[in-house]
């Protein structure tokens, strides 16, 4: 069996130069921003920063104004949204069915189950700031544990929403 090639000192120096450059460049402004808010976002709890960077993509911080539509019912998209500031309305079949505020997430069902959006989400206040991202499922080899934690956190969020719905309908039933 062959052994892999040995490298000269000069070649190793070249690798080191690339290593230095890699630490300095690449990290986009969005990723740097994400690291500053990471701990405030429940679904990222328990995930190390390096691994978090590796399991998400298309990370964006977006600002919307009152009345802007963020997602439309029946659209297909894998983006997940986290509300940093502002309030949004949830509209299903033309009827307002809920309100989302800071620290709430939406769009996770579409991302996990690859289904059409259940509802339209529209801004109900000015200066709505959102963080949007997609999950990179192609990284099972190196970040399986972090992906598992992220999905667990998302499942927790979905469960929480279902519990709120149950509570809402049980109160309505009593009235």
């Amino acid at each position: 069996m062959n052994s892999v090639t040995p490298y000269t000192k000069e070649e190793i120096r070249e690798f080191l130069k690339i290593t230095d450059d890699a630490y300095q460049d690449e990290q986009s402004i969005s990723l740097r921003k994400l690291m500053t808010v990471k701990d405030r976002i429940d679904i990222f709890k328990g995930i190390e920063a390096e691994e978090l960077k590796a399991i998400i993509y298309d990370l964006k911080f977006i600002k919307y104004n009152f009345g802007d539509t963020i997602i439309k019912q029946n659209e297909i998209s894998s983006e997940i949204f986290f509300i940093i500031t502002g309030v949004c309305k949830v509209i299903h079949n033309g009827k307002e069915v809920g309100v989302l505020k800071s620290k709430d997430i939406f769009g996770e069902a579409g991302a996990i189950f690859e289904i059409k959006r259940n509802a339209t989400v529209r801004c109900a206040s000015n200066d709505v700031t959102l963080l949007s991202f997609c999950i990179d499922n192609n990284n099972m080899e190196f970040c399986a544990d972090s992906l598992a934690i992220l999905y667990k956190n998302l499942a927790f969020q979905i469960n929480h929403k279902l519990q709120e719905l149950n509570y809402h309908y049980s109160i309505k039933g009593h009235i």
Binding site: S3, V4, Y7, E11, E14, L16, I18, K53, E141
Partner: protein
């Protein structure tokens, strides 16, 4: 009574330990070369503080391979000795990993054809199958061996496979950057990129972003899109 029970338990645990040790030695010998290479490579990475990215660069290799080929056609000088070395390393480790996966296609064969001859305990028992009871005991022990054998082999397989993949991931990461380092120095490639509409001094991320605009209807689109995700 208690004493008798303790003696038996002690004997059982000592037999179990012997079985575990025998299997462990076999598995160690089976993968000694692959483990040696993987550990040597990881040591090289660690001692030089090189990067093993968390992002998955493994499937980028096909894209980088074809990128390098197309660049070589424009300017053969971009293939430096270091790029060549790294390319050969990647190919070799890919092959090792591929063959390594194949070894595991038939664990039962390995057990039957190699391990049964290797194990002193099983060989000894097989030579002394005098009656039905010894035959039954042998069968039971063989089954116990096989279960333990599968567990240890699977554990070792995962461990070695992960080491090889980490080494590969690191090498492909440096391969990617080396290609662009050389490409960005080449006047001929600068001209080529300029003609196709990409600004000079690019990297895989920008190049993929540009290619994707042109390949919306191509069968490559999904693959290139997957590649772009690595760069975030």
């Amino acid at each position: 009574m208690d004493n008798n029970y303790n003696n038996k338990a002690c004997l059982c645990s000592s037999i179990e330990n012997s079985i575990d040790e025998e299997i462990s030695d076999f598995v160690q010998e089976l993968y000694i070369k692959i483990e040696e290479i993987a550990k040597k490579e990881l040591y090289f990475i660690e001692i030089n503080r090189l990067i093993i990215p968390k992002e998955n660069y493994l499937f980028l290799f096909d894209f980088l391979d074809s990128l390098l080929n197309s660049f070589i056609k424009i300017d053969y000088e971009i293939e430096t000795p270091l790029i060549k070395k790294l390319y050969q390393d990647i190919k070799l480790i890919q092959k090792l990993h591929h063959n390594y996966k194949d070894i595991h296609l038939d664990m039962y064969q390995i057990f039957n054809k190699r391990f049964l001859h290797y194990s002193n305990i099983l060989r000894y028992l097989k030579r002394n199958l005098t009656d039905q009871k010894t035959r039954d005991d042998y069968k039971k022990l063989k089954l116990l061996y096989y279960e333990k054998f599968l567990n240890q082999l699977e554990y070792k397989r995962k461990e070695n496979s992960m080491m090889l993949l980490s080494v590969l991931n690191s090498k492909i990461f440096y391969f990617d950057r080396l290609i662009w380092k050389e490409a960005n120095k080449s006047f001929k490639i600068e001209k080529y990129l300029d003609i196709i509409g990409i600004q000079y001094s690019v990297n895989s991320k920008e190049y993929l972003g540009f290619r994707l605009k042109d390949e919306i209807n191509s069968k490559n689109y999904l693959y290139l899109e997957k590649c772009l995700r690595v760069y975030k």
